[in-house]
């Protein structure tokens, strides 16, 4: 009787397409990456107050208000001041933004030596615009912040 011997099959994983997959992944990363470029940092990071217990907020939900030590307020890089009750720039701008994005979070980039009175005036206008979620942007000690 003839002896049959089973022929061994080559067990290999095809690797020809790995480079294609890798390039597809690379293209995905390149296409989905968004470069965020601030026009100007009106209050530099080293002037922000220092805190340890911070929260992280995604940028797409936020709008930034800069408050400089001399009392200048910048929303969308437009400077303004609150000197009288009639100065309602914060209210009018934020009311529009709130209508566009109901989950709006207002981030303050305020100089640490700014007097609280200015912040209080800004926050009162935020309350009037029903924009109640605020974040006081801070730096950590690890990032070089000094008290």
């Amino acid at each position: 009787m003839a002896k049959f011997q089973a022929r061994k099959r080559d067990v290999t994983i095809p690797q020809a397409s790995t480079s294609d997959i890798a390039f597809l992944l690379l293209l995905f990363f390149m296409v989905t990456t968004v470069f965020v470029q601030e026009k100007r940092f009106w209050v530099e990071r080293d002037r922000w107050p220092v805190a340890e217990n911070i929260e992280r907020i995604p940028r797409n939900l936020t709008t930034t208000i800069y408050v400089m030590v001399d009392g200048t307020i910048l929303i969308d890089d437009l400077p303004s001041r609150i000197e009288t009750e009639e100065d309602r720039v914060v209210y009018t701008t934020l009311e529009k933004k709130k209508a566009e994005n109901p989950d709006l979070n207002v981030c303050f980039r305020t100089d640490r030596d700014t007097k609280y009175g200015i912040m209080s005036d800004v926050m009162r206008q935020l309350q009037d615009a029903n924009t109640l979620v605020v974040t006081f942007e801070t730096q950590t000690k690890a990032s070089g912040g000094k008290k």
């Binding site: 890798a22 640490r112 030596d113 009037d128």
Partner: protein, 140 residues
């Protein structure tokens, strides 16, 4: 005379390493990508008081609310205690004691208009470090 024909060489670009190069590029992008988030102390402001709305004024006792007033010189007046400067650890111990007295204690932070913004942030930071949830920030 017999002319020998030149044998054609194989003109191929080796592509075996393209996968490795692509993966190296991916690793580079992944390692250098920084997710763009903002860092800070998040707080929800109270709604604006409206004379037409049905707001009810409630009187809170010292057992329910701790009043923290930050003065222009950076000192802090807690309830009826005289104003003075507190070390961070000292302030945290005081807040902890108030929390133990009443876990639902409301901390009302009142900051003078002349006080520094960083002093207010520091008090909020101390409150957040002890996971205080009931914080009220005065905007008057």
């Amino acid at each position: 005379m017999k002319v020998s024909r030149k044998r054609k060489g194989n003109a191929e670009i080796p592509t075996a390493s393209t996968g490795d190069i692509a993966f190296l590029l991916i690793i580079f992008f992944m390692a250098t990508t920084k997710f763009d988030v903002k860092e800070g102390i998040k707080l929800v402001l109270p709604k604006a008081s409206d004379s037409e709305s049905n707001t009810v004024s409630v009187t809170l006792t010292e057992k329910e609310m701790t009043r923290m007033q930050i003065l222009g010189d950076g000192s802090l007046a807690i309830n009826t205690l005289p104003a003075r400067r507190y070390e961070n650890s000292e302030l945290e111990a005081l807040i902890k004691a108030k929390q133990e007295l009443n876990p639902k204690m409301l901390f009302k932070v009142i900051t003078d208009r002349e006080a520094k913004y960083s002093d207010m942030v520091n008090v909020l930071d101390r409150l957040k470090s002890l996971k205080v949830e009931n914080i009220s920030l005065s905007t008057n």
